[in-house]
Amino acid sequence: MSAAAEAHGHAGGHGHGDANLHPPPIHYSSRINPLIVGIFLFIGSEIMLFGSFFTVYFFDRVVANPPHWPPISPEGIPYERPWFVALVNTCILVTSSFTMHWATTSIKRGNRAGLCAGMTLTFLLGLTFLLTQVIEYHRIGFNTSNTAFAATFFGLTGLHGFHVFVGLTILLAMTIRSFRGHFSPEHHHGIEVGGIYWHFVDVMWIVVYVTVYVL
């Protein structure tokens, strides 16, 4: 064969004897990005967490199948779900997704004022949502120990409320960093990641609202 001679070094470096002394070089072309694996694991764990609460909720609603839904309280009064206040709260949270997206878009375009305004509004809207939910808890008229419905109601909305609290903590840090000028059109990873989390919280609330308050 008239093949041109070429070096064999590529294969020779991975010999039998010293193959395990050093890790082989990393190949990136179709390697799964660790960040992608991480976000999938996070979403998966959240789905399992919320899923377990939804399972309890639907078990109570479908399998136990009480004659009325929401069920009648031990005092003989039907439970009232504050769907209208929750609808207003839903609008507030969806609006906060808008302002979050505005903030991200602003920093991508180098508009720092837009970033600061967007982050401040997002934080305030999120805080309004959480405070409204706390006030509703005080006015709702039943407690976790009343029935299975009451327990799952507080469990699901409370679990989401905890996520909002975590999100607000992240948003506060992002807002402070925005005012300190830590982000630029080239470096705004912190805004992107925090924004993703906030939208995730929004998505989960839509699922919780429709399931618990509407259907």
């Binding site: 590529h10 294969a11 991975h14 179709s30 939208h199």
Partner: protein
């Protein structure tokens, strides 16, 4: 599957998709509870179908290698253990007649899906390196000078990578016979012909043994 939370813009779009998804269900349930259930099932099934089939009907963009110096012929051989087979060596001899020929052997680092997802590819690459070296020795003994590289675990991606650096005139894919070849089951040969704008030759090598590597080639 595309990650719906890959970027903030993707996540924002997902919020709107979620709103639209549930709005239709609520509208159906407002008319009749069972209509809501039907809407939920139909929407979910439609969404699953779209996620599974999207992109599959699109014609792939054919990738062509860059030009290389005139006066030589370049062959890219993609194989794992079947590179030692006499059928492949005979094919290489046939292709190399008449002009100087450079041969690059790519041995994909075949891995299990779980290890691929957690980026645990050290073992797969070490195994591929050992197979590759044995192949090069066998080729040298048959009078074929070639160099070798360990490729990506996905054979098509390994070819695409080699196209960028080696610029071959032809790709030769060596597989086990039908029924014993995972690559044939995964349509690697057909996929290469659809994806790459250069001749793809398929050589079947019957080594008479069952492969024990993760990819089975």
């Amino acid at each position: 599957m595309r990650n719906p939370f890959k970027t903030e813009a993707d996540a924002f779009r997902f919020v709107w998709l979620t709103i639209a998804y549930f709005a239709v269900i609520v509208a159906g349930a407002a008319i009749n509870t069972w209509l809501g259930v039907v809407v939920f099932v139909l929407e979910t099934a439609g969404l699953a179908w779209w996620l599974i089939t999207r992109g599959k009907r699109e014609e792939p963009i054919r990738e062509a290698p860059p030009a290389h110096p005139a006066g030589e012929r370049r062959l890219l051989v993609v194989a794992n253990e079947t590179v030692c087979g006499p059928e492949l060596l005979a094919e290489l001899h046939r292709h190399a007649q008449g002009s100087p020929t450079r041969v690059l052997v790519v041995s994909p680092a075949l891995n299990t899906p779980l290890k691929h997802w957690v980026s645990d590819e050290d073992g797969a690459r070490s195994a591929a390196a050992e197979r590759l070296e044995a192949s090069l020795v066998a080729m040298r003994a048959a009078g074929i000078e070639a160099r070798g590289e360990i490729g990506d675990g996905d054979p098509l991606q390994a070819i695409a990578d080699a196209l960028a650096t080696f610029a071959p005139d032809e790709v030769i894919i060596s597989t086990h016979p039908e029924g014993r070849s995972n690559w044939l089951e995964r349509d690697v040969v057909a996929g290469a012909r659809a994806r790459f704008a250069l001749p793809v030759t398929h050589v079947v090598v019957d080594l008479g043994v069952t492969a024990d590597s993760p990819g089975g080639e």
